[in-house]
């Protein structure tokens, strides 16, 4: 369980995170969406106590992260920027982290196997591919078997097989009752992984709702229709709440369900060559929600940097 109350972070006079209040529940995967510079990485750094909030507070399982006697047991995190010394082997990296919490070497070997890094564990981490780096990050996050996992863009640099592996792993971890908080700019990926979603734009909370609601909320209910007798069909469908647009043997109908259109066509003996409900994608829902923020962002003379790397 992660709880933020009025969480605010300024770097100089730039506001990276503005008055965020949210609660991330255990047992499900919660997605964290927002365009670049929205404050996702900053929020995660604030949760881990790497940065101190300018105002407000954030707790994990009821306490600030740093107040827990066994922090790695509380939160396992994979931040977007790599957090490994490039000259050290993956094995020694994990061993050093494990030593801070008295975690035995056998567990280090276990997490290495779990993420599939066995063959390269003794090699310099600096030579790792992006995907291997993500796996090593995940291994360190899982080291102490934490009750909460925080992952910043975990599928970055993974091949399709690796992406599916992460997706299944995150769902499995959530199903075990853990809190799983994942940021991604890949909206379609989030739609497949996250049950709940928090959307931020320019550091502000834009939405905090089930993923299904986010998609439904921006849904426009447009149906694309093709038919050899398009003019007749268009005339029959016309009505006060119906908008019909298009030409070239194809129309887009707003205000009627595919079932209503299909039934009308059948009643008139008109054959249909296509009847496609256009579901708003998560991308579209997300764009709708953050459009104003992005325009404002683009027009702003002093754009807010991606707050994860203020140095």
């Amino acid at each position: 369980m992660i709880e933020a109350v009025g969480l605010t972070k300024k770097y100089g006079d730039k506001v990276a995170v503005r008055d965020l209040t949210f609660r991330i529940r255990p047992g499900i995967v919660t997605g964290f969406l927002g365009p670049n510079g929205a404050g996702k990485s900053t929020t995660m750094r604030l949760i881990l106590g790497l940065d101190a909030p300018t105002a407000g507070s954030v707790t994990v399982d009821g306490l600030p992260y740093a107040a827990h006697p066994m922090p790695l047991k509380v939160v396992g995190a994979v931040l977007e920027a790599r957090a490994v010394h490039t000259s050290r082997s993956a094995y020694n990296h994990l061993k050093a982290l494990a030593a801070t919490h008295g975690i035995p070497d056998s567990r280090v070997a276990d997490v290495i196997d779990m993420v599939g890094l066995h063959e390269v564990a003794r090699k310099r981490a600096g030579g790792f591919s992006l995907g291997m780096g993500q796996r090593l990050g995940l291994a360190s996050a899982l080291l102490a078997d934490p009750s909460t996992l925080i992952l910043d863009e975990p599928v970055n640099g993974l091949d399709p097989e690796g992406i599916r592996w992460i997706r299944d792993l995150l769902k499995a971890l959530a199903a075990e009752g853990r809190t799983v908080f994942v940021s991604s700019h890949l909206m379609s990926e989030m739609a497949l992984t996250a049950e709940h979603v928090i959307v931020v734009g320019r550091g502000r909370l834009m939405a905090d709702m089930p993923m299904a609601d986010l998609i439904a909320r921006a849904s426009t209910n447009v149906v694309t229709v093709r038919s050899p007798q398009l003019a007749d069909l268009a005339a029959a469908l016309a009505g006060p709440d119906v908008t019909i647009t298009g030409a070239d043997g194809r129309i887009d109908v707003a205000g009627l369900s595919p079932a209503q259109i299909g039934d009308t066509a059948r009643d008139l003996g008109i054959s249909l060559h296509e009847l496609t409900p256009k579901q708003a994608s998560l991308e579209e829902a997300f764009m709708d929600m953050t459009r104003d923020e992005i325009e404002f962002h683009a027009a702003s003379a002093a754009p807010v940097e991606e707050a994860g790397s203020p140095t």
């Binding site: 750094r45 995190a77 957090a83 000259s87 050290r88 982290l97 390269v120 291997m132 592996w165």
Partner: protein, 272 residues
Amino acid sequence: MSASVQQPATDHVQVAPVSQARVVRSEWIKMRSLRSTTLTLLAAVIAMIALAWLVGWATNAHWNHMDPGERATFNPIDRSLAGVNLAQLAIGVLGVLLISGEYATGMIRATLSAVPRRLPVLWAKAGLYAAVTFVLMLVSSFIAFVVGQHFLASHGTTLGAPHSWRAIVGTAAYLTLIAVMAVAFGFAIRSTAGGIAALFGLLLVLPGVGQLLPSDWQTHTLPYLPNNAGSALHSARPDPNALSPGMGLLVLVIWVVLALAGAAFLLKRRDA
């Protein structure tokens, strides 16, 4: 790499609270597992011993060509421990690098996520590096002394001579305090170039700049600079204006404590 999904083993992961001793163990693993650590420490050891041999041999070979002034200031103990000036470069650079390397690679985020109270990391790094430096440099100074006296031959002296042991232990103590100061500078400045520049600016450049002060000011300031205080501690035949060895040690310790306090304050206060 296998992409198969394995369920994390939820049972029986043995986890204990973070403690200073556990952080020291972790830092020990980190220090041992970087080749640059071993190589730089080896460079310091070689600098101490090889210079004793070289300087001892050269002094002996050219003794008859040395002018009387040079012979008057000659001290066999200091001559054999001349490597301290080179060794302090290696020790200082490595001390900064132990910390700046973590900031440069991002490792510091992993370190501070595991130990979010932060200060145990500073104490562990400084303490461990001090212990390693003291042991290595005590042995190296001793060997350098023996090697140096051997090659100085008839111009050399013995362990029983006054100041011999104080110079040997003082050299190790000076390098140890420089090691701790370097770690503090690493935490305070965080970048390799900046940390090294600041450390050696204080150690090597400031005494030279101090020479530009009016001479009656110099006597009240220059002996208190870390390098000169260190000289008073480890030189068998110090500069006439220098502090006493005990006072030199005290002044140097104060410098190191101030540097550590500044580093602790910044580490605790700044965003990682």
